[in-house]
Amino acid sequence: MRVSVLGELSGAIAHELNQPLTAILANAQAARLLLAEKSPDLGMITEILGDIVQEDNRAGEVIRRLRRLLRKGEIKSGPVDLNDLVQSTLRLLHSELIGRRVRVDLALTDQLPLASGDPVQLQQVVLNLIMNAMDSMNSTVPPRRLITIGTRVRTDAHIEVTIADRGRGVGVEAAGRLFQPFFTTKEHGLGLGRSICSTIVKGHGGELGIDNNADGGVTATFTLPVQEAMASAS
């Protein structure tokens, strides 16, 4: 399960790790060249070593964040602004979205009440659903590649997040098995993203569903209780 989450996120994570690793490598190689000179610039080499330490910490931070993401069990609960969460996830996927020529339309409700949950795990859910939406539009013509993300409050004191794509949709046969582990409609998918997302959302007292849209593509919807409701319930 842990390895598979890595697989789902590999693109984004590879990039985040590649950056500090590239910087470390180029710095070390520069230092090696400088040391080969007759009178090496020791000040510059000291500066380079300082940057190597800093870049190494940056790589370490990526790993630590990943660990937090993958840790099973207890949910570290706190107030979560789902609008912020959507925005920060989109920032994380910024270059991925551009690279795949996918546009994003936001229909976020202002003054959205806070939800309660583990922001890292919930970000994992949002990230996974957006990645799925992107993957499903691989064979959609680029001008039509659009993901619409909405947030709203429902009357039952739940916040609802919807992520709609214009991809190939899911067949009737597949629909029933979507949340089973290892079930995938992707050629290279591991089939664990959705089941992990579903587990996380249920763990937060919410629901995750995926429905075909009337005009093609699917809408993934997940709900989370608003924070106050959660507090009064317990």
């Binding site: 693109g11 590649n18 590239t22 910087a23 060249l33 940057d51 800093q54 690279g99």
Partner: protein, 209 residues
Amino acid sequence: MTEPSTTVFLVDDDPGVLKALTRLLRAAGHEVRAFTSPQEFLARHDPSVPGCAVFDVAMPGVDGLQLQAALSAGGIDRPLIFITGVGDIPTSVRAMKSGAVDFLTKLVNDRELLDAIGRAAESDAAARRSQMEVAAIRGRLAKLTPREREVLTHVVAGRLNKQIAYDLGTVEKTIKVHRGRMMAKLGVRTVADLVRLAELAGIRVQRGS
């Protein structure tokens, strides 16, 4: 490092990586002009400076055609080396459309990068040399009289003096004189050299009737 130094226009949107690559290239003896975005590069690129460009960016919001226009400003297609993440196909495709000559995947090692820069600098220098050569030839061609130029197009088409004289309605002796002056002005001794020069200058060959 033994390779000749060149100017590298380096574009990287990650400040840490930009700094590190700049150091590496400077330590290897190159002149580096560093930019944090393709937009900044487009705004400040100086096409008259010989050298190559190295891009390590996902190119958000960059128009490939605009980039290509900037890289080929001044009549020289500045060689572009692209550093991409593994499997970053969309960016690679766009890079290719903007005229990238070389692709390196991360983590790029110094030997590979410096070799690629060496090759790019060499092809840039060759393009600039031939551009200068063409300019020099054009300068010499400008000194020809209209008649000499006319004779030139016939000679490179492989026509004999006698035939040219007939075509132009004059005598062979006159053509010989024009031909001699034309060759002298252009600084060539043989018809083979003349043909090569005409080709470089893009002169259309006059087909005989």
